[in-house]
Amino acid sequence: MPSDRRLEREAAKRRRHRRGQAIAALSSVVVLGGLAALILTSPGWPTVRETFFDWEVFTDSFPDVARAFWLDVKIFIVAELAILVVGLVVALVRIAHSPAFFPLRLLAVVWVDLFRGIPTILLVFLIGFGVPALELDGVPSEPVILGAIALVLSYSAYVAEVYRAGIRSVHRSQRDAALAVGLTESQAMRHVILPQAVRRVAPPLLNDFVALQKDVALISILGPLEAFREAQIIESQLFNFTPLVAAALLYLAVTVPMARIVDRMGGPEGAVR
């Protein structure tokens, strides 16, 4: 039988909880309702509703945009895998301290500075139009592949730095312990340091991939029919922006679940409750 003191405390806790919920509900109605009222009563709303939120245009264009979006998904998956590998290689080269690695280490530093420093959209342009102009044999000239290469260059520079930060965050005593049981430096890296580093940087890595999912749309400037470009074409035929909204929803459909995964990995603090 719980004591009166305990029952009293639990009742107070319940009261506080109920009060908190009431405040949250009220403030949501005020803020969201206010925003909705602001938009719906704006002088241009009827026009905007017609040009951006036309249900008929939406249902007509959605299948085409969705089909084109499949290309985004494919580019994203291939690029993501390549970025994970290239980024890791660049990070490992950058921290290797063997003198034989000196030129490679220099190259890794330049790689990161260069590709992280150039806006991704510019990189897509330069690779997409510059590489075919070289007319080299055996070098791909399809815009989709060149665009994906540009994304890999840009993002691998970021991801290499994320890996490097993770590796440096693993305490030196872990390396000592690995060497003490007889592992070589590279075995210590592979079996002891990297597994811990990758676990630590998984949330920031996923965060970069949420950004990559959106930036796949940049490839559209080279011509491939991905979601954004398909939507633009329909838009220019119908003089209606609804297909772009359809494309936006498709991007959200993959980035939002990814963002929730990132939250969960960051622990309960990051999640919306």
Binding site: L179, A180, V181, V192
Partner: protein, 252 residues
């Protein structure tokens, strides 16, 4: 098996400085086969540094360390090969947090000594059981108490069948009630004739287990001899002062 009483570890004139700070100022020390040598001395006297120098985790500045007569501090020596012949247990355990207890114990055997998974696991399980950790094979370090973690670390260092074990203050990170179980594991190894160099603050343990006690003071071994002599009738004033301070703190 070498002749009993032959020197396994020999330290000759070893010096080590970190920048301006001279930590070791000429260490001479011998650990013979089946012998346990306790290394005592205040915090910062260089005990950890000496053990790290012997396991080649630090480069010595001058002098040499010999393992079974081989100069292991020679720059041309295969450092990885030398570490495979030694075991080191750290004060803060340094277990691999992403691995289970069993994986911690068998990593060296699998990757450094090339044992098959089955053989390594069988031996690893037996070792964990021997140190009272049967049933905890699949626990990660953060599910184990400090004493259990340190026993896993001892099993890990011992799994490579080292010629000598180096123990660095293996009980000083532990809560007092957990010290006994770890000392029991060390006692067990001593019982089977393991050659050991033990940096410790536990004087009663040093008295019980060690064949020799060496007192390290300001980077030099000031006094060395059988435990009864060094701990009870020390010749050197520095040793007497150190022991009386411990006595006041209730640690001796």
């Amino acid at each position: 098996m070498s002749v009993p009483g032959a020197a396994v570890l020999e330290v000759r004139g070893v010096t080590k400085a970190f920048g301006e700070r001279e930590v070791l100022r000429g260490i001479d020390l011998t650990v013979r086969e089946h012998e346990a040598v306790a290394l005592i001395g205040a915090s910062g006297s260089g005990k950890s540094t000496l053990l790290r120098c012997i396991d080649l985790l630090e480069d010595v500045d001058d002098g040499d360390v010999f393992l079974d007569g081989e100069t292991i501090t020679d720059p041309a020596v295969d450092t990885v090969g030398v570490r495979r012949r030694l075991g080191l247990v750290f004060q803060a355990y340094n277990l691999f947090p992403h691995m289970t207890a069993l994986e911690n114990v068998i990593l060296g055997e699998r990757r450094a000594h090339g044992a098959s998974r089955a053989d390594a696991e069988e031996r690893g399980r037996a070792l964990l059981a021997r140190f009272g950790l049967g049933g905890r094979e699949d626990d990660r370090p953060d599910n184990l108490s400090g004493g259990q973690q340190q026993r896993v670390a001892i099993a890990r260092a011992f799994a490579g069948r080292p010629r000598a074990l180096l123990l660095d203050e293996v009980t000083s990170a532990l809560d007092p009630e957990l010290v006994g179980e770890v000392l029991e594991a060390v006692r067990d190894l001593k019982g089977e004739g393991m050659t050991m160099l033990i940096a410790t603050h536990e004087m009663s343990f040093a008295r019980e287990v060690a064949d020799q006690v060496a007192f390290l003071h300001e980077g030099r071994i000031v006094e060395q001899g059988p435990p009864a002599q060094v701990l009870e009738t020390p010749y050197q004033p520095e040793t007497r002062q150190f022991l009386s301070r411990l006595l006041e703190a209730g640690r001796a």
